[in-house]
Subunit: 471 residues, 4 copies
């Protein structure tokens, strides 16, 4: 046989798995009650031999894929109720441990306390392409959880396993350009959550020009599915509005002439991987890639939305709230006019009041856990970025006008400071900001109330809760 | 048709990681006491931000790689003693669970009972190429365990995580031929555990002819390291001796003319993955690949060693043992002569006695768990193969003469029967064998003592304990 | 270094060349007169060392790329006038050959008669990516030739070299599916010449469903540029209309259920390679690929346009022409009504007359060279296909209504007959047709005039003259 | 970023072709007389359709591959005698051209003067993998030419076409390291022509250490066959002996610490491509690659053999020759002692005489064409290198002692001077040398005879005649 590399073959194999999966679609399965699925799951768990495990796992996943909404709900309920730990075994294990605190009794206690669904999920992953279906399964689970909080116990097991399987060590950062496969690119269109991509021509404008870059994380077992991606514009300065970057008419610059890399859109792709954080790794690694490729780059910054700003501002329009002065509040009432941004005078009035308000929103508000309430701010500040600039009327798309009255923010990633900024934020809840941003703050006395310290036990949820909120 | 350039990039990235890892070798690290490593591990565990976790994980792994034997022992001892569960937290969790059996208290109980080193190992895997070092780490751990059984608790955590990370769903079956990269092929030479490969010319004879095949499992994160591989000869009948297959002088046949695929060597490659079973999947999948490629293939069989036969036979030479007749025992004493196999008459005498003894060894002996005592037999029978034929003087290499007096066995994989054979073996401890093999049995009355039923709880250890024993 | 295959590297290298080429676009060159280009060309030809030839060749090609229409015309004129053979050398060579007919004098005669531009073009191809620019160059040349037939001499040299460089032995047949790179797919959209692809969604419908296939020929030096491609529908019978295949609403069938592969669109992509035939190889090879992949396929047919039919029919409306009966001519006058196809009665009248006319057009008309006047018919019949069926109102798109009043044709590729059909057509000008098609013929006596024998010297121009005409 | 999955498919296709080719080996062909081959060739040339051309071409090549030595000779004789130009057509074409000197008559004259075997060879290349066989064919042809100079006319046609097909624009420079496919690496072992590679361990020492590099040119249609390769050592200074580089005991340096890249072995791989020059491109491009990868590299030099030195020196031992002084001649007689290099005094005496002799050999001797008589010197000087240093006893292998009494040479590639050096050498026959080398010259008056100017018409034969002579 001739020069076919190991990898050629690996990829073929993975690709073939994908094809087969697709063609499953054609074999109608008999409708099964949930009871039959439960028996199949017990069967899979109890097998001592593995030879037929793959087939059985594949079969269970296939049934789930074909099942209707109601059956899926029943399936999750079954996982909750029937595949927890065995209470008797657990009781015995506790007794034994209390009797003698040995490594053996401890191991048995841990094993007995583990919900049986963990092993079940592991065995489902035996099926070719199992992981893809398991991710879809958790997507459905998260939906159900909205109305059924008990399912959190099931989700804890999915999360635990996904955290292990999607460990950073297994992810691969990959540049995405106009020569990427169409089946991957269509997902970029679909998953872009910050600045919508209308069609393939717009996609091309985001990927093909010399001064545009895009990077995604992939998992080797999900080869057609980006997990998270970031779009980058190479520029000569930090941009103050999104139209500078996305205008159809703009002239591209030469990549070598760029001094600044602007991250203007970060989107999580897989709802089923919510809470598994990739974003902080992504930015750090993309910065490294860009610096290697274009040594002249000096500045790494974002152009980011403030998704929670309008809502917060509305809540602060109550005179009882301390965040805004009466004068500013009055100015900001102008935002109620649908056409406020068309009138230069109104615009100026709003600008004078809204920038301090945004500074306050970013620097002074805190969640109960002691973090900024803006999710995108939490993300970048938690990554060690600095709050660099607040931009007025920087995004005039309907959504941005609705979410943040058009305000956007630049976060700056200064490599030498990232670690210190990150520590300051994580340990002490400090938001590092440029002097110009700090100067925007008013009413300093009013807000110098004790900010709550950040909640210590939980790891920073660095990947935002919601795809739309990132960047 | 589906493969994607995405992978070109992925593979490059993975390859680059490997390169970097190698070049670490050049940066001498200061010698560190174990205390410093412990602090680093605690630090890694306690970080709430992940930004610097990768670097820290990489640093710990690097220190471990550079550490001497003694420090490695101390490291494992540290994992055992310092990174178990937190006893106070566990005590509290037990109390809480006893107070109220809710999903919440159960989750906390499970979490509290989990040794902290599990999360530590997960975080070490954040480092680029971390998995490769973790596999080496367990290799060292298994060595230590030989003299320190307490470390089994640590190994349980490694095993647990490796079982998850090396889940069958993540492995890729890859054909290995003469166009494979040299750095992979040299590992085939190194890891071949059944029929030694002397040099590259011999390797070529195993891979290049049209009637030879080789397949390996790879994990996408260990791209230069086969996990397990099998060598296959395409033949026109089931071979009765290894020299038919490996003789330098033999004439290859056309692949299309073959009716039989003979698996004549299976080797596990990674000591650090001992107990993580790949072998049963491997054979099933290779059979499928071969059938797709060469539809004329009808028979799938092995030519396998009996690694434990000589030892067992020696123990049965005691007249008190019931397995052998006096006459046979007398004949088998001839094996003591170094040149017994050169004399036709002696050979015939031995043959008449040794084949029944081998049949008895395979069909009638049992371990305490109720399985055959020959590890290769356990492996293939557990996979659903049938014991097809016992071959006299089938391997005259010094090792084979020592281990099994030259006897080899064919196991037959008959696709339609695999499942039933497997069930019979696993559930009822039955060894399915060809009539001709069964007819070899003597003293049937003597051995019809009750065989112990197979031990039920443990999953079959389908991957042999020892690389040398497989196939 | 780690597992990067030879080919990974090869592809990277080729890809890098492409990138570099693109970025040339940014360096404005000083405007040069044609005189300077001529000197550069003479310089390139006269160099005895090659070290700097690549750079010089690259420079000349770059100047040409940047040159305006007029300069390009002047460049071609220069190739014609200044880079023919050296007349004195040729004269001497003729003398010498006449003096002594030796291999030496013959070689010199051949060398002296070769236009110097052949070697010039060869040396231009030294430049990285030179071939891509040379193809563009000939594209421009063919345009100019329309108004300046003297340039045919220059084109003969381009053709000669391209025939050698794009030799079938160098082309690679590649399946194109929805996972192909976007930069290749956009060319499929752009080059589709038979049934227009409106947008990416339509493209996806042509490539992604299980019952669709697409194949293209590529040249290893033009990796982003398909040379010719064919679109295939897998069906259960030979389709009689294009809407069956392209309707958005249609339900795909399973690939394994297909019995028929219908080639419904073949498009040449590179105007600069006009006359270099790929099409006949393409179909033969695609048939082989499909049969290997889907052994159940039995029938290979086309659904093809009749691009010259309306024009021919118009010319036959003159009663003096013998091809149509008066009655048919009358019926066909109905085609003049814009809405003729909406009225069932009119449709029936037209059908009865137009099918015999189409049969006549395909079976009886001949060019001066003795071939059918329909270029698509020439293509498929020359490849050894059989004229299988004529379909009424099979394509109601405006273009098809204009070109052929909606008539389409099925050509059948029956593997066992291809060779004989091809010989019959090439040697004796015979069109092999199904009985049902022949039965459509009227006025047989009238047309049994002696058909001219096909012109013997010229190789069949199997690739149509015009992209739009194929399939 | 640009690579494409298209290529995965392309490579697979090419690889498959190779496989098929190999398996041809199994189908015994009936022994055919040369007459049948001639008819097949005429048939291939005369076909107007191409549909069956591929098969016919494949068949002819296959017959040639299976043919014995004698039949191959007869085949070449046939190409010479039967497939030259058609004399009548040529006569007519000359008449016509004399009658009217038009583009048309000129084209016909050129066409008529072209040996018919050129088109025949082009059509043979239609066969899958045809090019590989055609290269073997010319290999055989070159052998025959040694005894039959008439075949030069046939070789001229092969050369002409190979020059076009193996145009630099089609070649791909590829790094070869220890992860390259074994079937490529075994060819590196086989083709190494300067410093033999004993086995795979030695190969590994040449490829794997961080301070070693190897690059090869490949043609996309010959993916398993390097065309030419160069081995490079990264060093801290220009080495004066080969043992410094190849000693098993040496300690590798870090690649980043290297300042010098030493090209210590260049080997042509394909005898069938003799005279098609790749070497000059190779060195220039490898220098570029290395500089990109390792920006600290400052010096690019060779450590090269003097393959013709001993022979020339022997011829100069005649006192009548003017190159050596009587004293030097006397000293050099010591070379006759087999053990001369073991005795320090003898060594010193020889050194004092042999270095000036080598300087004379390199700087002053000339072939009839006015070039240095040492082929390796011609190669590097023709590429624009400078003669930098002559090293005494630099290679003590038996072959080197025989060919050059152990003397080796460093040629220096100084990027800024390459072009000027090259021009000086090509245009004026000047050898650029370091002052220290020039100072070695004695008898300057004696040699200041007029050196012949380099022969103008022929392009420099930059690829040496003989594989063993390069580097």
């Amino acid at each position: 046989m001739n020069t076919s590399s190991i990898f050629g073959d690996m990829l073929q194999t993975i690709a073939k798995r994908g094809r087969k999966l697709l063609s499953f679609g054609w074999q109608p399965l008999p409708a099964d009650g949930i009871g039959e699925l439960e028996r199949a799951c017990e069967n899979l768990l109890s097998r001592r031999g593995e030879a037929s495990g793959m087939a059985l796992a594949g079969d269970i996943l296939e049934r789930w894929r074909r099942s209707a909404q109601d059956d899926r709900r029943a399936f999750m309920a079954m996982l909750l109720e029937k595949f927890g730990p065995d209470p008797e075994r657990l009781e015995k294990a506790i007794e034994a441990y209390r009797g003698e605190r040995s490594p053996q009794t401890l191991r048995e206690l841990h094993a007995a306390a583990e919900p049986r669904r963990q092993e079940l999920i592991r065995r489902l992953n035996l099926a070719p392409n199992g992981i893809a279906t398991l991710v879809r399964m958790r997507e459905a689970l998260l939906d159900q959880m909205a109305s059924d909080r008990d399912l959190e116990a099931v989700d804890a097991d999915f999360s635990h396993l996904f955290g292990s399987w999607f460990n950073r060590g297994f992810l691969v950062l990959t540049p995405i350009d106009w020569s990427a496969p169409a089946n991957v690119l269509e997902k970029i269109i679909r998953y872009e959550a910050v600045h919508e991509i209308g069609d393939w021509n717009e996609l091309r404008r985001r990927l093909d020009p010399e001064d545009r870059r895009c990077f995604a994380f992939f998992h080797p077992q999900l080869i057609d599915e980006p997990l998270i991606f970031v779009e980058v514009a190479l520029t000569k300065s930090i941009p103050g509005s999104i139209s500078e970057l996305l205008s159809e008419a703009r002239a591209p610059i030469r990549a070598e002439d760029a001094t600044t890399a602007t991250f203007y859109s970060i989107s999580n792709c897989q709802d089923g991987l919510r809470g598994i954080s990739f974003g902080n790794f992504l930015i750090k690694q993309v910065v490294e890639e860009l610096r290697r490729d274009l040594p002249k780059l000096e500045t790494f910054a974002t152009l980011s939305p403030l998704p929670g700003f309008s809502r917060w501002l509305a809540s602060e329009m109550d005179p009882a709230s301390g965040a805004l002065s009466d004068a500013d509040r009055k100015s900001l009432e102008l935002l109620g006019h649908p056409e406020w941004s068309s009138d230069p005078k109104t615009r100026a009035t709003v600008e004078a009041a809204i920038l301090p308000a945004a500074a306050h929103y970013l620097l002074r508000t805190r969640t109960q856990r002691g973090q900024p309430i803006d999710p995108v701010a939490r993300f970048h500040l938690g990554n060690g970025a600095r709050l660099e600039r607040i931009n007025f009327l920087a995004d005039q798309s309907p959504r941005a006008m609705r979410q943040s009255h058009g305000v956007m923010v630049n976060y700056l990633y200064k490599l030498d400071d990232i670690e210190a900024n990150h520590e300051a934020f994580v340990e002490r809840g400090e938001v590092v900001a440029a002097a110009a941003v700090k100067r925007l703050l008013r009413n300093e006395r009013a807000v110098r109330r004790a900010l709550p310290a950040p909640e210590p036990e939980k790891q920073i949820e660095s990947s935002s809760q919601n795809r739309e909120l990132t960047s």
